[in-house]
Structures are given as C-alpha cells and as structure tokens.
Symmetry: C2
Subunit: 260 residues, 2 copies
Amino acid sequence: MPNTNKPLILVTNDDGITAKGIRTLIDIATELGDVVVVAPDSPQSAMGHAITINNTLYLKEYTAHSHNHKEYTTSGTPVDCVKMASHEILDRKPDLCLSGINHGSNSAINVIYSGTMSAAVEAGIEGIPSIGFSLCDYSADADFEPARPYVKQIIENVLDKGMPKGLVFNVNIPKATHDEIKGVKICRQANAYWVEEFDKRTNPYGKDYYWLTGKFVNDDKGEDTDEWALEHNYISIVPTQYDLTAHHYIAELNTWDFDN
Amino acid sequence: MPNTNKPLILVTNDDGITAKGIRTLIDIATELGDVVVVAPDSPQSAMGHAITINNTLYLKEYTAHSHNHKEYTTSGTPVDCVKMASHEILDRKPDLCLSGINHGSNSAINVIYSGTMSAAVEAGIEGIPSIGFSLCDYSADADFEPARPYVKQIIENVLDKGMPKGLVFNVNIPKATHDEIKGVKICRQANAYWVEEFDKRTNPYGKDYYWLTGKFVNDDKGEDTDEWALEHNYISIVPTQYDLTAHHYIAELNTWDFDN
C-alpha cells in the first residue's frame, strides 16, 4: 500500500469494476488521496447485504491503464469486497470508503436492497467513515460529469470533519445538468416502496418462470425527504445508521405480557 | 386461499423449506391461523436483503404430508419469497408473516446479513406485521422444542395487540432446555460485530481461493442488549425498523458547508 501523508481511500461499487460510475469515482478519489479499488468482477445490483459463505471467493489484480494505484476484483458481493479489502488486501485501515457511483437511485427504501449502500454500511461497521453515491440514471452510459464537483465537495467535507461511528452517508444525485442541480439537501429516507408485478413467461421447455418487476410508489409528502429533494433537482444526503433498534418502541413492548 | 375467520399467516425462512426450524414454526402457526408457506427451495443464509433481478424465478407447489395447507418453494431469496407470496400467490394480504425458525443466531449486527430477518423486514415494508425467529444453534438437528411455548406466546401477543407500521420483531432464542430459559427480554441490538478471517486455499488447478470465516466480537457491555439476554438464557426481542435515517444527526449535518 502507498504510505504517504494522504488519506487512504477504498473505492468499491456494485455495478462491477468496469462501470462508468466507479471509474468516475476513482478519478475524483485520486485527486483527494491514495486509492485502492476492490470491486466485484461482475454486476451485483440488488444484492443487499449478502455475503458469500457457501461458496469460494476469488481475488484478482485488475489492470487499470489510467492510474498508478492498485485495483482488485473479487468474485463476491459488494460486502465481500469490503471484507476482503479490510482483512486480506490492505495493511492498514482506510481513512474513507467510497461506494458507487451507482447507476440508478438508492433513495428511500432502496437503501436496504442496494449493494452500493451495503458496501458502505459494511465499511461503517468496520469503523471506516463511508459514503455511498448513486446517480438517478440506470443507463450504462449515464452522464456523471454534472455530479463531479458535488461528489468531490462531499468527500472533502467528510475528510475534513469526520463522521461519527454508527453512521454512513447515502448520497443520491438527480439526473440533471450542472446548471439544473440546485445544491445539496440533508434529508430523511422517504417512506416510499415498491409495488411488485411479476412478469410470468413460459420457457422453451414449457416451464413457467417469472421476472420481478415493479412500480415505485411514494406516499410520503414530506419536503424533508430524499425523494422530494431529488424531484426538485437537489442532491440528497441521508445520514444512515445500522443500529436497526426501534428504540422508541421498547417502553411500549415492556408493557406486553410474556410470562410463560 | 382458505377463507375462515382465522388469521392468515405467511411462513417463510432462509434455510429452505425442508429445514427443521421452519417445520416447527409451521406446526405452531397452524395452531393459530390459516397457514400458507412460501420458502426457498435451497438454503439462502446470509443473503441479506438480496432480490433476484438479473435472473428468472421459479415457483413450485411443495407437498408437505403432515398438513392441509398450501406450501410453495421459489428458486429465489427469502425476500423474493415474500414478494412472490404477496403479489403472485395470495389473494389477500396476510395478517402476519413469520420467518424462521432460523438455525443460528440473528442477534446484534447479524440482523443485516440475515435472510430470515430480511424476509421479515420485507413483509413489514408491505404493511404486514412480521416476526423473525432464530435459535442460537446452527446444527441441522437443533432442538426447537424448548422454544415452542415462547414462540407461540409471542405470536399470540402480536395477533392480539398488533404491531405499528414501520417495525418488525427480531426474536432470538438461546440454546437451552425449557427449564434453563428464564423468560423474554425486550432488548436493543448489541453493538457487536464480526472480525473476518479469510481461509486461503489452493484449488486442484493451482488457483488461490478464499473461504470467509470470522470471530464474533461483543464490546457492548450494556445489560439491555440482545447479546446480554441470550448469554443469560433469556429470549431476546428487538423491535427492528427499516427507516435507517440517523435522525439525530440531521441538525449537525445542516451546519456543514455544501455550497458549490
């Protein structure tokens, strides 16, 4: 590992190491610190916080022609990548973990299905300040340029101010031109959800199968949500925690009768 | 679907439909309501909140000889099972979703890696009161009998009192005899984590590969945690939420400078 006085930045994602989003994030990160990349060798979207325990994991050095830093791929999930980086590749704890930039939104409830955010959360659990970035554009050729100055500034802020243990940032960027983006808003996760529709088909051998599809529904009219911000061309930052305890409900539950 | 005046209970898990844990949970559920089972056709542990979007899903009726209710398997993850149940199999919303009983603990940070809990959370997101059950015993032949009366009573409590939208219960049961179990404690998620160790091996073709292994570390000395409860032979219930916003940190973040 490089051992300069620059911060050590681990970069990962869930779209795979060749995705345009991670290449942009690597570019930005190299301006701010010493970079090591550990990313999946193939797309791992919607993997949530899955880890690989019933299968073997492969680790490979990846040659990126444009940079001097080290890059690796693993055959595992985004969370596996962070674990591999921390415990097998890096010889010291990174100062920051960046995940993304995801091709597609990870706002609202998407945070819990997202491989991008799960990688960020995994780094957070390991005590590494961590940010997941997502652009609201699913296309492989999405334009990440308008996001660049904002992404850089958010990273600089975190390198400067730090991040308390127990949380990570979920940053979503609207699909908009630089002039259209109005700025950054600190938000809460909107209470929005997916209504699934299964597309039922029959395979060439006569067997029925399904594709998961769905419609995203936002019933949350709050103007302090990530959905509101994105709809109004703001970049949303949701401080996101992995203590899932509903602390406010403990007192109520203590009034229930569980004697046996 | 049966249409009696009994509650409709969806049962799922992550160890697969033949696991001893789900068979016990189905037994208990049939005493309390009309049961429909939709579970993975193979073990899906540690799948977190993964969903199947890049692959096809298969759905099959499963013949369980001991009961009259309907059972189905899917080729997907635990979360896929809940989505399939809600949107493809059931003609009305279940009154309750039960996930488990998992072979192995889902206390502390395990909640976010757990397929069992992700299925419960998915049902919660869909507005279904939902409980994930786990026994702290990984063996396929684990003894679920001591847990039975407690599991039944927790379910009865939820059927009676309901559960507010936005949370689900994470129930963990110590590996102990009926006489050893001291009762039920309402807890917060302990601040405990895994320290990974990768077991590096070489395959018969000379290529290195890794197995993910690790050690669970609990630095949280609180006596109100699920880890404390389980260690002292109490059953732990953690009310668990899927709004991951760190609301307490929003004011602080609003003092940061994000002008661009």
